[in-house]
């Protein structure tokens, strides 16, 4: 331990240690970097994209990559590169907000189910089981169909679809953590339930929740792309990778780049989060270190 | 000629934290029909020594020295030669019968495998022979056991199955690594009787690895005492028990729980300290840090193995039978 470290609190020290271990894994770092890149792309789209996503130039329709159009143009003469960049907004929004929504609802439910048990636990578990009888994407598709096609509804649908498993995970962690000695000590000292859940149980779940986030964000990104591909998500003219792919199908022979670039973006965005997630899982739980 | 001849065997492990010398220059011999006991605390290298003979150690192990079986060089043998010896001429019985038996295979399958592999038996022949073997090791209703799985058997029975499996091809040598340690005391006696029986009836030589001297007294002909990867004492069993020379042996004998000899209760005598895990074999007596007889010499020179009594070798600068001092601490 360096002098600098000795001065830090145990939690800060732990964070430093994690950071060091993370840096030792080049793949995870690469994932982090690329994921951040996409986030930045989403935030700063207007600054990065040379053209606005709707700007058509029919004279240059379906042209190949050039100095003016980095990835070429689509059938309406729109710059593919700009559209790919702007699409990051829809995907990141869906990915991040759906996951946040899911966690905001699922974590409290899971905590309650796992901590109080009693009659509420079986009820919550059965409901979760029923929802889990439907695969993730089916739920998302179903909900999106009911709610009507739009990015907002797609995000909500994806968030709801992610909740059951998150409830299960949170419940499982809570069940395990409530048996820990420090929790029992807090109970014996008369701490209120709220304090116990908030100060003892929840903070010790952050690792698991972080890993879950890296699982559900990419799934939601793909989910949004899928819904948009089916016409149930983002509606044109708003650009989305899924919409771009769907529109690219008729031109697959003439201009494969219409298929390649948007799909590549989805792939890289998903891959980056998965790499990051794998790395995080490795450092947070030595048992799963492969 | 000795059945097993091990000479100056050393085993070194390359681990993440550096190299560890698990066995350092051990020599021993096993004669036909003999029961040789290798004794020492956990971590002293006795299991590693045995496993190195058949190359059953992980790839991080480097084995040097010489070991031969029936005149054949074991260390230089190639993999197929070794595989022909394993289970056929030299068999192993491990400590934990629950985990050492495959939970997904029936008794018949596991024993039958050996018969089919080495003796080329057909399914029916293997079946019959398996029943014979189960009977031999004292398992009641052997035919019914054929289709059972390990989890359906008691600990003692599982160990008997392991022994049956080891005896399947009538090996010349049976190496039993802590065969009774994981079993209830009441069951242990049964297994020991069985091993004794095996030696008598089948003439199999046995290498018995254990940390329990009580077990040794029961069944061994000859004893090798190991400490921290080195052999520190060797003698015929009665000689060792009557006249232990090395302070470690003396300590081990003193640690055997015994009823008080009329003069009130005795405290359980323990040897203070722990067995070291050595990265490099140090040029001194490895027992010195815990030894009541240690002096400057023991701390700076490695004691060679010398014959201090007829057919009784000790590696110590201060051999002798003085008992362990009561309440001695390092």
């Amino acid at each position: 331990m360096t002098t600098a470290e000795a001065v830090l609190s145990p939690r800060a020290r732990q964070r430093r240690r994690m950071r060091r271990r993370l840096l030792r894994r080049p793949l995870a770092v690469a994932g982090l970097v690329v994921a951040l890149m996409f986030v930045l792309m989403a935030l700063f789209a207007p600054l990065i994209a040379p053209y606005s996503p709707g700007k058509s130039d029919f004279s240059a329709a379906l042209s190949g990559p050039s100095s003016q159009h980095l990835f070429g143009t689509d059938d309406l003469g729109r710059d593919i590169f700009s559209r790919v960049v702007w699409s990051a907004r829809a995907s990141m929004q869906a990915g991040v907000f759906a996951t946040l929504l899911a966690m905001a609802v699922a974590v409290p439910i899971g905590l309650v189910a796992g901590y109080y048990r009693g009659w509420i636990d079986p009820v919550i578990s059965r409901i979760t089981d029923v929802v889990l009888a439907f695969p993730f994407l089916i739920i998302a598709v179903g909900l999106a169909a009911i709610l009507g096609p739009s990015l907002k509804n797609a995000t909500i649908a994806l968030g709801i679809a992610a909740m059951p498993i998150l409830v299960r995970v949170t419940r499982g962690e809570t069940l395990a953590l409530r048996e820990e000695d420090y929790v029992k000590a807090a109970v014996a000292n008369g701490a209120s339930d709220f304090v116990i859940l908030g100060r003892h149980i929840l903070p010790n779940m952050t690792g698991t929740l972080l890993v879950q986030a890296t699982v559900w964000i990419p799934r939601s990104i793909i989910g949004e792309a899928l819904l948009s591909f089916l016409g149930l998500g983002v509606q044109p003219p708003t650009p989305s990778w899924g919409v771009m792919l769907s529109a690219a199908q008729p031109f697959i022979d003439q201009a494969p780049r219409l298929v390649i670039f948007p799909g590549l973006a989805i792939f890289l965005a998903t891959l980056s989060f998965n790499l990051l997630g794998d790395g995080l899982r490795d450092i947070l739980d030595p048992k799963t270190r492969a | 000629m000795a059945l097993l001849d091990v000479s100056n065997l050393s085993v070194r492990f390359d681990t993440d934290d550096g190299a560890v010398q698990a066995v350092d220059g051990v020599s021993l011999e096993l004669e036909q029909k003999q029961v040789l006991a290798i004794v020492g605390e956990s971590g002293c290298g006795k299991s590693v020594t045995a496993m190195s003979l058949l190359r059953l150690l992980p790839p991080s192990a480097t084995v040097t020295g010489a070991a031969s079986f029936d005149g054949r060089d074991l260390l230089a043998a190639d993999e197929s030669e070794l595989r022909a010896i394993r289970g056929r001429e030299i068999s192993f019985v491990f400590q934990e019968p629950m985990t050492s038996l495959n939970p997904a295979l029936t008794v018949q399958k596991q024993i039958g495998e050996v018969l089919r592999r080495h003796l080329d038996m057909s399914g029916d022949q293997a079946r019959e022979r398996t029943v014979e073997l189960l009977d031999l090791v004292g398992i009641p209703a052997p035919r019914r056991r054929l289709g059972e799985y390990p989890h359906q058997l008691s600990g003692g029975m599982r160990q008997r199955v392991m022994i049956a499996m080891a005896l399947a091809c009538d090996p010349k040598v049976l190496i039993a690594d802590e065969p009774t340690t994981a079993l209830d005391v009441t069951i242990q006696a049964g297994i020991l009787d069985l091993l004794r029986d095996v030696r008598e009836r089948l003439g199999t030589a046995i290498v018995l690895i254990t940390h329990n001297l009580g077990v040794v007294a029961d069944i061994a002909d000859r004893v090798v005492v190991m400490y921290a990867g080195r052999k520190v004492e060797e003698a015929e069993v009665h000689e060792l028990f009557a006249h232990p020379q090395h302070p470690y042996t003396v300590g081990l004998l003193a640690a055997i729980p015994r009823k008080a000899n009329g003069d009130g209760r005795r405290r359980l005598q323990e040897i203070p300290g722990i067995v070291p895990s050595l990265p490099e074999p140090p040029p001194r007596c490895t027992f010195a840090p815990r030894c009541p007889r240690a002096d400057e010499r023991s701390r700076s020179e490695q004691p060679p193995l010398r014959e201090v009594r007829p057919d009784h070798h000790v590696a110590c600068f201060h051999p002798g039978e003085e008992p362990w001092p009561e309440g001695w601490r390092t």
Partner: protein
């Protein structure tokens, strides 16, 4: 084991029951009154009144529900207002096609995933291990609809070796059937193969370091016997469970894949139903999907308990 099976079947039935409630209520939750949505095109007051009478829409909800459930259990989901065909029949026509796709995909997944997992575990830390790991991650991350389009681009458009779309029943022409199923099965299979590979690798790492493998080697068995007969034997259990769990992902994937490759399966039916707001069809489809999923999970449990001797044969002398 029998009591275990009974309990699991009971649980499955409860879940199906509750799922049916959800599906039924789903219709009620849609914008517009149920009568309107069922009416489809003809929305005159008389037509609506007829529908209300015909479907008993003015009965109390529980009555409606049990009515519907009763019919559903007999396979009668009513008639699609769009095609006029029985929903139940339409579904039954399409299911075998998707089942074939699912089975082929699972075969692909196992053929790719199991050897990769075994070799990775056996040669842990080596280049093949890291390469497989990375490949698995790629397989998990690649959007299957994109992969499908890329394969069409490569094999159908550029190389012209496989047809881009369409379906030919197996009974009619097995070769053509397989040619058309090849790409979709591969697309769906890669995702699952990644999961299978990871699981197999993890299980094998456990098995290979287990005591019984040491015993197997000490018995003089060939390395192949040790790996396949002992280590893999014990690892296959978890793989079976994983495949069952991935079935849901397969169904979801089939939805898009059938769309892209124009295969008239159950998945494609779902899209058609949703896009055309054919609510009778949607209800039928979602219900059958849930039942199928639950049944598959049940089968996985049964298979697992059959394969695991500890559950299959419990007791005996202890």
């Amino acid at each position: 084991m029998r009591s275990f099976l009974l309990r699991r079947t009971g649980a499955a039935l409860i879940v199906i029951f509750l799922a049916s409630v959800v599906v039924f209520l789903g219709l009620q939750a849609l914008p517009g009154s149920p009568a309107l949505t069922l009416a489809g095109e003809d929305r005159s007051p008389q037509a609506i009144a007829e529908i209300v009478k015909k479907f008993g829409l003015d009965d109390p909800l529980p009555v409606q529900y049990f009515n519907w459930l009763g019919h559903a259990l007999q396979g009668d989901f009513g008639v699609s207002h769009r095609t006029g065909l029985s929903v139940g029949e339409t579904i039954m026509d399409r299911i075998p096609i998707t089942l074939e796709l699912a089975v082929l995909s699972i075969i692909v997944a196992l053929v790719l995933g199991i050897p990769a997992g075994v070799i990775s575990a056996y040669k842990r830390g080596s280049l093949p291990d890291h390469a497989s790991g990375l490949l698995a991650l790629v397989g998990l991350s690649i959007p299957h609809f994109w992969l499908g389009l890329l394969l069409i681009l490569l094999f159908a458009v550029r190389l012209r070796v496989l047809p881009a779309s369409g379906y030919v029943p197996f009974t009619e022409d097995p070769i053509e059937n397989l040619r058309r199923m090849a790409m979709p099965a591969f697309v769906l299979g890669t995702g699952v193969s990644a999961v299978v590979m990871r699981q197999m690798r993890s299980s094998m790492l456990d098995s290979l370091t287990a005591d019984y493998v040491r015993t197997a080697r000490a018995k003089g068995l060939s390395e192949r016997s040790v790996i396949v007969g002992h280590a893999m034997r014990n690892s296959m259990l978890t793989v079976v469970t994983v495949v069952g769990l991935e079935f849901g992902a397969l169904i979801s994937g089939a939805v898009i894949t059938e769309q892209i490759f124009v295969i008239p399966g159950f998945g494609r039916l779902t899209i058609e139903a949703v896009n055309q707001r054919d609510y009778a069809l949607i209800q039928g489809v979602v219900f059958v999907a849930a039942v199928g999923y639950v049944v598959v999970n049940l089968l996985v449990d049964v298979t697992y308990s059959y394969l695991n001797p500890r559950i299959r044969v419990s007791g005996g002398s202890v």
